[in-house]
């Protein structure tokens, strides 16, 4: 069977753009909120645009929070984009403090404003600085260093080892992507970041293929 990635449809985010980007790199995708389909996925994309409290509420309402945590414990590939990445963490300070999925240690906080920095939104193309000594499996290419951001909250991982890139806004170096085992998070939108962004989905396609090859080998041995 052709490897497929499941895009979680919980009513938040521009799923169509992500699907278009996946089509472009030749990775088959399925947009769904169906629990059994999601449970049987080898890889999922958790998208998200909007507010953290609404998003986690919707995931819980659709009973998808437990499904995603279960996928994590079975070492499936999880890809969080923008708010989707923030949801992977333990808690967010957006609005009232709310609990996240808790797959990654850490919290989500607002950009601080002050006299010199009046904007609280980070919108536009920003450079990413790749954190050295990290295995980012080719997701982030040193030559492709600008990505498209649109957010006003950012993550603070409990474990700095998972940080794969940082970017700068309001004079602050914030975390723009993370990776821990099979969990990947990107604060920017790869589907809107031109060829550098599409490269990330190409890498996702490659790791899904690799993993499915390993699985077929295993099943043959059995």
């Amino acid at each position: 069977m052709k490897p497929t990635v499941t895009i979680i449809d919980y009513g938040m985010g521009n799923l169509f753009s992500i699907k278009c980007a996946l089509d472009k790199v030749g990775l088959k995708s399925l947009i769904t909120k169906d629990i059994s389909k999601i449970r049987n996925s080898e890889a999922i994309i958790l998208p998200g645009v909007g507010a953290f409290p609404d998003a986690i509420k919707k995931l819980r309402y659709l009973k998808l929070d437990k499904v995603i945590i279960d996928l994590y414990s079975r070492k499936k590939i999880i890809f969080g984009i923008c708010l989707g990445m923030q949801l992977l963490f333990e808690k967010s300070y957006e609005g009232k403090i709310s609990k996240g999925l808790g797959i990654l240690k850490g919290k989500v906080v607002k950009f601080q404003t002050n006299k010199n920095f009046k904007k609280s939104f980070n919108v536009g193309w920003k450079k990413i600085q790749i954190i050295k000594n990290q295995k980012n499996k080719g997701f982030l290419n040193a030559k492709d260093n600008y990505m498209y951001f649109i957010h006003s909250f950012h993550v603070k991982p409990g474990n700095e080892q998972i940080i794969t890139s940082k970017s700068s806004f309001n004079g602050l170096n914030f975390v723009s992507s993370v990776n821990e085992e099979n969990v990947y998070g990107f604060q920017f939108h790869p589907e809107k970041s031109s060829k550098s962004g599409l490269n990330i989905y190409k890498c996702l396609k490659n790791i899904i293929y690799e993993k499915s090859l390993q699985l077929t080998k295993k099943s043959r041995v059995l």
């Binding site: 521009n14 169509f16 753009s17 278009c20 089509d23 939104f121 193309w125 589907e191």
Partner: protein, 278 residues
């Protein structure tokens, strides 16, 4: 970084371009142009249904979907947007931001509503102005309807409403290739703190330095210069559904020399040390 933003004016599924927002000529399939611009380094793309507002009809969502399949940079879509459900549909079709002009002038609360539902960064306010003596006045319905709303007064109002970015179009300069309206640049620089994209008049690289000596816009929107460059490239080589006989004639369109987004970026790096994404 300053964003280089091709602006595609759309009428009945076709890419069109006029002069002073009038005399719209059909240039071809917007899809084809959008894809070329994406491939050649556009930082963002604007889709503007230029008759939606005037005819009080909705933007064709299938056009936005088509563009999303071929372009992987942010897409700003506007024209005739009057309600929240329209905004939602446009965003679901692959647009990242919407722009609003007429409905915002008619009802300022509408802009606030869109901001509170979709976030300030999702909304761009488009302002299309005509110069009268020393001041600029906003027009509605793609330049068809005059108002008494003065440019800077409107910008300041929008700023207090939480708008984060504007597209300011000089109707006088639109499609002429005479260069951006530098007086608008001066006024915006003096009075406006939020980001603004400048639109209207570009044809030669020096037009950028003229602006950048005065102010620093967040982006430059470009129509004619890029569209005609693609058409000049295509003349005689391929069948094409657009009517571009006018480009062969010796007319004002000869203002437009062949230019690419890459030429623009190279020039700005060299002359103004502006950084761009790779």
């Amino acid at each position: 970084m300053i964003r280089i933003i091709p602006k595609l004016d759309i009428k009945n599924e076709n890419l069109v371009k006029g002069v002073n927002l009038e005399g719209l000529r059909v240039l071809g399939d917007p899809d084809y142009f959008a894809e070329s611009y994406y491939e050649s380094g556009a930082d963002e793309i604007i889709y503007h249904d230029v008759v939606a507002s005037l005819y009080e009809r909705n933007i064709d969502l299938s056009l936005i979907e088509k563009a999303s399949k071929k372009t992987f940079v942010p897409l700003i879509v506007g024209g005739g947007i009057t309600n929240l459900s329209q905004v939602e549909k446009i965003l679901k079709s692959g647009a990242d931001r919407v722009f609003i002009n007429t409905a915002g002038i008619n009802n300022q609360k509408f802009i606030k509503k869109v901001i509170s539902q979709f976030g300030a960064s999702t909304v761009v306010v488009s302002i299309e102005v005509v110069k009268k003596k020393k001041n600029y006045f906003c027009r509605k319905d793609f330049g068809r309807e005059e108002t008494n709303l003065e440019l800077i007064e409107w910008c300041k109002k929008l700023e207090t409403m939480g708008v984060v970015e504007l597209i300011v179009t000089s109707i006088d300069k639109d499609g002429t290739g005479e260069g951006f309206d530098l007086d608008i640049a001066r006024q915006l620089n003096k009075h406006v703190k939020i980001d603004y994209i400048l639109n209207g008049g570009f044809s030669k690289l020096e037009h950028f330095t003229d602006v950048l000596n005065i102010c620093k816009p967040s982006g430059f929107a470009i129509g004619s210069a890029l569209h005609y460059s693609i058409l000049k490239h295509k003349i005689g080589s391929q069948k094409h559904d657009g009517n571009f006989e006018f480009l062969k004639k010796k007319t004002q369109f000869n203002n437009f020399k062949k230019i690419s987004i890459n030429d623009i970026k190279k020039f700005l790096i060299k002359k103004k040390n502006i950084k761009f994404r790779n």
